[in-house]
Assembly symmetry: C2
Homo-oligomer: 212 residues x 2
């Protein structure tokens, strides 16, 4: 392939497991046995354990000493928690990114929104959505913040793939476009506030979905 060059095994394993958990191919609560996974990847258990540590820090997995590792579950409260954290942090990132946004970036973001409209399946919708958010937030130049947001976004997408949320069928493009409009007008406070509502709404929608 290409990047499979000198990347540590732990990174590859962690990425692959993360993908499986996010897309639901490994279900919540499932136990992850280190030597089974090691066997599957054709490695020893050592890099597998390191991968576990990373997944644990991302909140995808829960580890109990001497008892093993299992995929983290998610309750309504946790969905809401992640949504509110995203709202707070993405608003912060956008306020800091706004001064550095160029027209070229905003155009790219507009295109990502259109790609989301065109999406016919969850995967491509999610990819477009993530691209949009990343594009307008990255210029904030706060690496730690961006990493935190990325982890939260990953957690969010778990809920999306699990079918709780019909988010990708709803008119998210309206929100995206009003955010872009505010940014083009230089009103970064309004843009941040719109973004916070846009993201925070996800938590409420998940809750409503499960209820009714």
């Amino acid at each position: 392939m290409s990047t499979a060059k000198s990347e540590p095994l732990a990174a590859r394993i962690s990425r692959e497991l993360s993908d499986r958990i996010v897309t639901g191919r490994i279900e919540a609560g499932a136990r992850l046995r280190q030597d089974h996974i090691a066997e599957e990847f054709g490695t020893s258990h050592v890099p597998v354990r390191e991968a576990f540590r990373r997944l644990e820090s991302q909140g995808l997995v829960r580890s109990e000493p001497r008892r093993g590792v299992r995929v983290a579950g998610f309750t309504h409260d946790e969905v809401r928690e992640v949504a509110e954290m995203r709202a707070a942090l993405e608003a912060l990132a956008l306020r800091n990114a706004a001064p550095h946004l160029t027209n070229a970036i905003l155009d790219e973001a507009e295109e990502a929104t259109r790609a989301g409209d065109r999406a016919r399946d969850v995967q491509s919708w999610e990819e477009a959505n993530r691209t949009f958010h990343r594009l307008i937030l990255e210029p904030c130049g706060m690496p730690r913040l961006l990493r935190a947001i990325d982890d939260l976004h990953t957690a969010s997408s778990r809920f999306l793939f699990s079918g709780w949320r019909a988010e990708w069928e709803t008119p998210t493009d309206r929100d995206h476009r009003s955010i872009l409009t505010a940014l083009r007008a230089g009103d970064s406070d309004r843009a941040a506030s719109l973004l916070a509502h846009h993201v925070g709404w996800i938590g409420k929608s998940a809750y409503r979905n499960k209820r009714g």
Copy 2:
């Protein structure tokens, strides 16, 4: 001792290294060689590597594949970044904690503030300060958020111990007391706003300190 029985070695090593980094006993940029640390702790290098992964996720250490691990440095920008993240997240936590705060908790927080006043050295001031924040935020019942705040607090205390900040000599107690007053009056929005300013101010102070 007590609970040091069945705790994994990686956890113990990670905690000890974290403490050394935070208090500055290991300086920024220093290289951490797994074999040396393993020898010091009387273990093999395997649990040391796992400890590294945890420290990496906490932002205390930076790891380059095949090149080793070194203690993360911190620039002015990073100090500001952490402060702003704390401001955003602690405000969120406080808004969610406010409905569950009891008078007993607020009294404990008041006592922690007094302990901070009495503190004559950085360690005990930091401990009191951390206790204060933890007390009023914990009832929010959002474990993921609390973990994130805790990691940020750890990062903050690095700057404190490094001597950049004279924060502990300043009248932080004023801020703490006005927050408690707002909470007792049931004005959680005002309390959250005060807390955000209180925490965010740290970033500015560090910046100012270094300048003048």
